[in-house]
């Protein structure tokens, strides 16, 4: 039996080189129209890993997910924070519209516990979103987490440093964040579709005032004392 290209493109995991994959799993809209356009299915995928790579901290790496997290926690599902680098601060999350009573913070003592907790959260089916900060670059573990993500229905976001860009990943989607000229710049090094030519700019975080007052802490302090 011959199948047409159009029929083939309907198969899971098959897409034309020039187009985005036709996502089968439901997606969670990112809340940013410009970003939605560039993602297969127009949103963050569920049931598979998504990698967010960034080096700088405090560039809006959590707040750009806020809208999606609020949507993912519908139907009474949890948002699990596994081994976050710092404490998720309740007043800020509430202000960003993330329901606090759905948040589950897990701060394991060691690497193995973190991996185990992430796997459990992904598998459970109780989580709408699982955010985790992995202390390991082992491919075997990533593969295992990808399997766990496939068995759950969660939006699974793994945060890593940009050094991981060189390493191969079982995740279907990889985005890279940096802050350029006061905007959050999103590049998509890996997606099921053609490579993204130009980075997307999102106006996340406060609009900076004119960069006039680059201040040395010490001189500022002295000025205040004086």
């Amino acid at each position: 039996m011959k199948a047409t290209v159009a029929q083939l493109a309907q198969l899971p995991g098959v897409w034309r080189g020039g187009e985005l994959e036709h996502a089968i799993q439901p997606v969670v809209a990112t809340g940013h129209a410009a970003l939605d356009r560039e993602l297969p299915g127009s949103g963050w995928p569920t049931g598979t890993l998504t990698e967010v790579l960034h080096d700088a901290a405090g560039i809006g790496e959590i707040s750009f997910l806020a809208g999606a997290l609020a949507r993912a926690s519908r139907d009474d599902r949890l948002i699990a924070w596994i081994a976050p680098p710092h404490l998720p601060y309740a007043p800020a999350l509430a202000a960003a519209g993330i329901p606090l009573d759905r948040c589950l913070v897990v701060r394991p003592a060691n690497r193995d516990d973190s991996l185990w907790a992430a796997e459990q959260a992904l598998r459970s089916g109780a989580c709408g979103a699982v955010l985790f900060w992995l202390p390991s670059d082992e491919y075997a573990w990533l593969r295992r987490l990808q399997m766990a993500a496939e068995s759950g229905r969660a939006m699974a976001v793994l945060f890593r440093s940009t050094a991981a860009e060189r390493l191969s990943t079982p995740a279907h989607l990889r985005v890279m964040l940096s802050r350029e000229h006061g905007a959050l710049e999103v590049r998509i090094p890996k997606r099921r579709g053609p490579p993204l030519a130009t980075p997307i700019r999102l106006a996340i975080g406060r609009t900076l005032p004119a960069a006039s007052s680059i201040t040395d802490i010490r001189s500022h302090a002295l000025a205040a004392v004086g």
């Binding site: 700088a56 901290a57 405090g58 560039i59 809006g60 959590i62 707040s63 009474d76 599902r77 949890l78 976050p84 710092h86 404490l87 998720p88 601060y89 309740a90 007043p91 800020a92 999350l93 509430a94 202000a95 960003a96 329901p99 606090l100 009573d101 948040c103 589950l104 913070v105 897990v106 701060r107 394991p108 003592a109 516990d113 185990w116 907790a117 459990q120 959260a121 598998r123 459970s124 089916g125 109780a126 989580c127 068995s151 759950g152 229905r153 802050r179 350029e180 975080g205 406060r206 900076l208 005032p209 960069a211 007052s213 680059i214 201040t215 040395d216 802490i217 500022h220 302090a221 205040a224």
Partner: protein, 477 residues
């Protein structure tokens, strides 16, 4: 009425080997202290030539490393009691009877869609408990017991569902299966009466006169002509079970198998009562009065053995045992009403959703409660006290964040002192936070939003009390 009788042949031996078969020859002894006799022997002992009824001294001569356990009728009775309680999940009428239990199942047949399915559910359940039982089905207790014993003795019998066919079904069975005095049986054999058929052909009046009225009554009850009322066993409102291990267990992995058997038994008992447990205590006994306590607590009453076992496995994994374990003791002192959990019905939700409570319990069992928490806003102006950790997964009163000033998504565990090389651009501030003079944790700080050359935005403050200077307290992630 339809009765299912369960017969546990060699019960003392089964109890001794429940936590795992013993590879060495093992016998149970009973009888006068001077000359105890073997009453049952395990396979290893039997292959060494040990037979039931032998003197222990003779058995020891046959098998070098023979283990001899004295029969303990109290333990047997307790085992049967727990079995009767476990049987409560199949019917309201579960009682102890002879060397086993009897269940009246007529009302439950529809629930289990047929007596064949019910019988196989019971057989499967018994196997999961670690017991071996034969099963008889008949309209009277005694007939059911007779069938079960016949099966235990290797005879082929078919169950009987109807009183009208009972006579022909029991006809071929030997009389020695009945609990009759040995003298009576010998007497009957002398008369040429060895099968039920011969016995039932005798005139009842004569039987009563010659062998005593209890024999005639027994026959009447067996055939259903005389009523045979039974009292259902009502278990105490708690669950306790103790299991001795066949060999000293080193580490925790070897404990999971016997623990599972106890939990399966508990699940059946709880099902029979419509109950669940919220708190469990598991004692690991190490001998010489040393023991380790393990507490299991759940968010709501639970009874599923697989789930409880998975929680126990994580907790046991965190334990370091002082010595090898020789016995397990499981106790639940409060049985609570159990509300069955509704399972997911959403189409496409094929994967088993274990639910948020289960996830949280599983995580906190392994990681510790303090490492798994929910967050909420607290009434305080001080940033480190403006949030509170709480039991995860419980709805909290949604407080409006005081959205006057920006707050960072990450809060540092403790403020980090900034060094003079850190160079920042102050974006917003100062925001004076001054509070807490009443509880000894006073703060007087000016908070700023600041960013550095890489575009990273932080929440920093200038301390006016104690060690003055600039600190970083949050990250606008």
């Amino acid at each position: 009425m339809l009765w299912v009788a369960l017969e546990l042949p060699a019960l003392p031996l089964q109890i001794a080997q429940r936590a795992g078969a013993s590879p060495e020859p093992l016998v149970i002894s009973e009888g006068p202290e001077q000359r105890p006799l073997v009453i049952c022997a395990n396979e290893a002992a039997q292959s060494a030539g040990v037979r039931e009824g032998q003197a222990i001294a003779a058995a020891k001569a046959l098998a070098m490393d023979l283990r001899v356990l004295a029969r303990d009728r109290l333990v047997e009775r307790e085992a049967l009691e727990r079995l009767a309680a476990w049987g409560g999940q199949f019917t309201h009428m579960s009682c102890m009877d002879g060397q086993g239990i009897a269940l009246e199942v007529e009302a439950s047949i529809k629930l289990f869609s047929g007596h064949a399915k019910l019988a196989s559910a019971i057989r499967r359940g018994i196997r999961d408990l670690g017991f071996h039982a034969t099963l008889g089905v008949a309209p009277t207790v005694l007939a059911a017991r007779l069938f079960a014993r016949a099966e235990a003795n290797g005879l082929q019998v078919r169950g009987c569902l109807d009183l009208t066919t009972l006579r022909e079904r029991v006809a071929g069975l030997p009389l020695f299966l009945l609990d009759w005095p040995a003298r009576t049986l010998a007497h009957l054999t002398d008369l040429g009466v060895v099968r039920m058929r011969d016995m039932l052909d005798l005139p009842m009046e004569g039987v009563a006169r010659r062998f005593g009225p209890e024999i005639a009554i027994c026959l009447g009850r067996l055939m259903g002509t005389i009523a045979d009322p039974r009292e259902p066993y009502s278990p105490p409102p708690r669950f306790r079970a103790r299991l001795e291990l066949p060999a000293e267990a080193n580490g925790v992995d070897a404990l999971l198998f016997p623990l599972r058997r106890m939990l399966v038994e508990m699940e059946g008992t709880l099902r029979g009562r419509g109950a669940g447990v919220q708190q469990l205590v598991l004692w690991l006994e190490h001998g010489r009065k040393r023991r380790t306590r393990l507490d299991l607590e759940f968010a709501s009453p639970e009874r599923e053995s697989d789930f409880i076992l998975s929680i126990a496995r994580e907790k046991l994994g965190r334990l370091t045992l002082p010595a090898t374990t020789i016995a397990l003791d499981l106790r639940a002192d409060a049985l609570l009403p159990f509300v069955p959990r509704e399972s997911t019905w959403l189409p496409g939700a094929k994967e088993q959703a274990i639910g948020r409570d289960r996830l949280i319990q599983r995580l906190s069992a392994r990681l510790g409660r303090e490492r798994v928490f929910g967050i909420a806003i607290a009434d305080d102006h001080r940033p480190d006290r403006n949030w509170t950790s709480m039991d995860p997964g419980h709805p909290c009163a949604d407080r409006d964040p005081e959205a006057k000033a920006a707050r960072p998504a990450w809060l540092l565990n403790r403020p980090r002192k900034l060094v003079s090389q850190d160079s920042f651009c102050l974006i917003a501030g100062p925001e004076r936070i001054e509070s807490g003079w009443w509880d000894g944790a006073e703060v007087r700080r000016d908070y700023y939003v600041a960013s550095n050359a890489r575009g990273e935005t932080f929440w920093i403050f200038r301390e006016h009390r104690g060690e003055q200077g600039w600190y970083m307290h949050g990250v606008f992630a």
